[in-house]
Symmetry: C2
Subunit: 108 residues, 2 copies
Amino acid sequence: MTLANPNHVFRALSDPTRRAIFEELTRHGEQTVHALTRYAGVSQPAVSKHLTVLKRAKLVRHRRDGRETHYRAQADALAPMVDWLDRYGAFWRERFDKLEGLLNRMEP
Amino acid sequence: MTLANPNHVFRALSDPTRRAIFEELTRHGEQTVHALTRYAGVSQPAVSKHLTVLKRAKLVRHRRDGRETHYRAQADALAPMVDWLDRYGAFWRERFDKLEGLLNRMEP
DNA sequence: ACAACGCATAACCGTTTGGTTATGGTTTAT
DNA sequence: ATAAACCATAACCAAACGGTTATGCGTTGT
């Protein structure tokens, strides 16, 4: 899996509508643009553009099926953000390091 | 500690210059606006404005000392972002839950 | 065949953003 | 006392953003 530009990931998730779309896809799985439009509360073209931004960040993948396009969340594309938090979120890093140490000792 | 609006946190960290400032403060501790300006590669007013945005997200705190203002990173303000990742980063949550389970069993 | 649907793209628009230079207020140094 | 330093704010600007309506192309239903 090719890592997306961290910039794209942070940028994509800075918009609440885009986060809502990603959250919806995470909670309820693959959905069409039509379904997402009903959910998002903005026009269909707006949703399409948001999906383009999420695509650039590799946060969603799509699958064409006839006239429909199904989108699904690609959670592991969050890796750059997790990495960043791991490096710069001190309290978090501490907590995580402790846990990771444990895991490594138990699953070598 | 009052939690900042998640929107403000995501928004603040969506800009690479702002992330760089926050990273610098995390790595090398408290610094004046002057020092940050030399580091950031943009004008001093630009840095001041970035610091205002970071302040709004509670990601930095400041301390006046004569004519200088010292800023420092406030890493626990990243909590809303960590929470979000915990909820919507599936692979991550899974990994973390496993680790947390271990920790709880070992440190009750 | 043809009407309707699903989606992406184009064209457009007001607002926000990230940058600049200019200015002014407070504090320090000479 | 005066000059210089530090910082925030104001004023300004081009570009990016998030939204809209209009359009067009492929697909499906009748």
